[in-house]
Amino acid sequence: MTQRHVDSYEPPVILPSGDQAISVEFAAEISERVNGQVYALADALTASPPAWMNELVPAYRSLLVQYDAFQVDFDVVAAELRERVAAVYPATGARDHRQRTVYELPVAYGGENGPDLEAVASQARLSPEDVVRIHSGVNYRVYMIGFSPGFPYLGGMDERIACPRLATPRTRVPAGSVGIAESQTGVYPNASPGGWQLIGRTPVRLFDQSENPPSVLQPGHYVRFLPVDSDEMSRIEELVAGGEYVIKSTALSA
């Protein structure tokens, strides 16, 4: 997942993924540019969906296009996708036209909320305060949502605080936990097993199955973590429990 080969495919490749889906791969790298191309194609297909299209699943550098193979042959879908790719690549690829919105997530770092903060700091030869300052100092791009419902894969983390996954994953990570794995960071929206090192926890609910869309964060959004103390954490937890908490968001100028 963290390998970074710096090479793009020219043109992007069309790969069958079983008999009912095609994966369009743009490059073998994780970058805002490549991820922007993925969403440019997803947006174009969503804006004028082919009759055979079932579901789109975007990821870091590829778009999975699920199609109705009872209606259409692989060759037809592949040909149409090549045309659609040509229309968005590379012209719009370098530019993500989405509204760049930054969501501010309050995080209580360390202690029982972030049991691995000390370990991350000692691996990075930094103080826990430095790890918090570095982690909360940048806007992270939501590259994709996967692994579990609403789990955002966030890119753009400072390499100084990168750290390996736990050798033995936890059987239960509490909802809202903020973790680090290699040079990625992310938030567990729901309690689940997990192997990322946990440095904090946000009281904000990122996934609600009764809402549509169920995920607050969308790919292409940005996230910034705001360190809060335990009093502020308790106050926000009460607001969240009462359904009164509104996540602060701001538009980034492109």
């Binding site: 997942m1 993924s17 994966s23 009872f70 996967g146 729901n190 790919p219």
Partner: protein, 368 residues
């Protein structure tokens, strides 16, 4: 009064499943749904439901359900014995369950999962467009959990087309076996594997391990070698049937409850037509893989679907087998009759054979 089915005993694992939760994978929501979609489809056809109506998926049998009101039901999927109030019934065949009747599923003789379909479908509140249960994320079904004794499952309005006496022809059923040949197409990351690795996949036998579940089948067998030992890829979306190979070189076939994305290279993807076989594969099942083209896989999928949908579900004779004691001696008897004929005013004929000796009995009135 609204109709319902009450869970008396859920067995090892009973789950409400329909044809899956489509459209939310981009938010990380797994598709889930019936792991043997064909058995669900046929079960729904037998009771006159829409193709994707929700049913009860029962793993390892051993479950009991009570009908609150008369319903038309069927059991499809694995091979197992079923009975209604103690009378043995055939699977793959619809029947009338009178109010108060108890349906019992015995342990599977072959395969793993049975589907109990009921006319009107299990009518719980859908979550994100589906009633399917995904236990790991607590979504769908009843509060995202497996069924428990005492759960009351509301039924939808019965479909006008539902009638007892529909049977899926035996010759069209998939054969459940513990030695399977599984057809696959080339996976999106085939080039991540060495030629030796690809040869391992297609020339070896892999065994389904007991670390398998609705998320996937973990296989044991020869290591599949990746180029430079690099099994990890930049995470991307995965499909049902994807054969991914993690760092230990042993393949995992992803199934209904898979996560939406994964970080391991996918050497192959199982053809849709063969997914039902995997849903019924018990630990110890031996798998061999053969490769076909995507065009062939699509052709097979369409042909199979067409043959299921166009199958003649009518049948003439219903057979009941039971063992009785005559003068203290146990005898096996077979009762063959046309159920629709018995329901006519004035009754109909039942052919009774006791150990091969046939005679005909006239039934004046069909007990309900």
């Amino acid at each position: 009064m609204s109709r319902s089915v009450t869970v008396i005993n859920p067995g090892a694992l009973s789950l409400i499943q329909d044809s899956g939760r489509q459209g939310y994978q981009r938010y990380g929501v797994p598709v889930s749904g019936a792991i043997d979609p064909e058995a669900l489809l046929i079960g729904n056809l037998l009771v006159g439901n829409g193709h994707s109506a929700a049913a009860i998926e029962v793993m390892f049998g051993g479950a009991e359900f009570l009908f609150s009101a008369e319903a038309v039901a069927a059991v499809t999927g694995c091979d197992l014995e079923i009975s209604l109030d103690g009378t043995r019934l055939s699977t793959w065949q619809s029947f009338v369950a009178p109010a108060g009747a108890v349906l019992r599923l015995g342990p599977p003789v072959a395969g793993l999962r049975a589907y109990v379909t009921v006319d009107g479908g299990i009518d719980i509140k859908p979550v994100l467009g589906s009633r399917s249960t995904h236990v790991a994320s607590g979504i769908g079904g009843l509060d995202g959990r497996p069924l428990a004794a005492g759960d009351e499952l509301p039924l939808g309005a019965p479909n006008a087309s539902s009638s007892p006496g529909a049977k899926f022809p035996g010759q069209l059923r998939k054969v459940i076996s513990n030695e399977l040949t599984v057809r696959v197409v080339q996976g999106p990351q085939r080039s991540s594997f060495t030629s030796q690795g690809v040869r391992s996949l297609f020339s070896s036998t892999y065994t389904v391990t007991d670390r398998s579940d609705r998320q996937g089948l973990r296989l044991d067998g020869p290591v599949i070698e990746a180029v430079d030992g690099r099994y990890d890829i930049i995470s991307d979306a995965v499909v049902s049937g994807a054969v991914q190979v993690p760092g230990d070189g042993r393949p995992i076939i992803l199934l209904a409850d898979r996560q939406t994305t994964g970080g391991y290279a996918k050497i192959a993807v199982v053809a849709t037509v063969d997914l039902p076989l995997l849903a019924q594969a018990v630990p110890g099942t031996a798998l061999r893989f053969v490769e076909i083209t995507v065009a062939e896989a699509q052709q097979l999928m369409r042909e199979r679907h067409a043959s299921v949908l166009s199958a003649d579900l009518t049948f003439d004779l219903e057979t009941h087998r039971s063992v009785i004691a005559i003068d203290g001696e146990t005898r096996e008897i077979n009762l063959d009759y046309r159920r629709d004929e018995l329901r006519k005013p004035g009754g109909g004929a039942v052919s009774v054979s006791i150990e091969g000796v046939r005679s005909t009995v006239r039934v004046e009135e069909m007990p309900r």
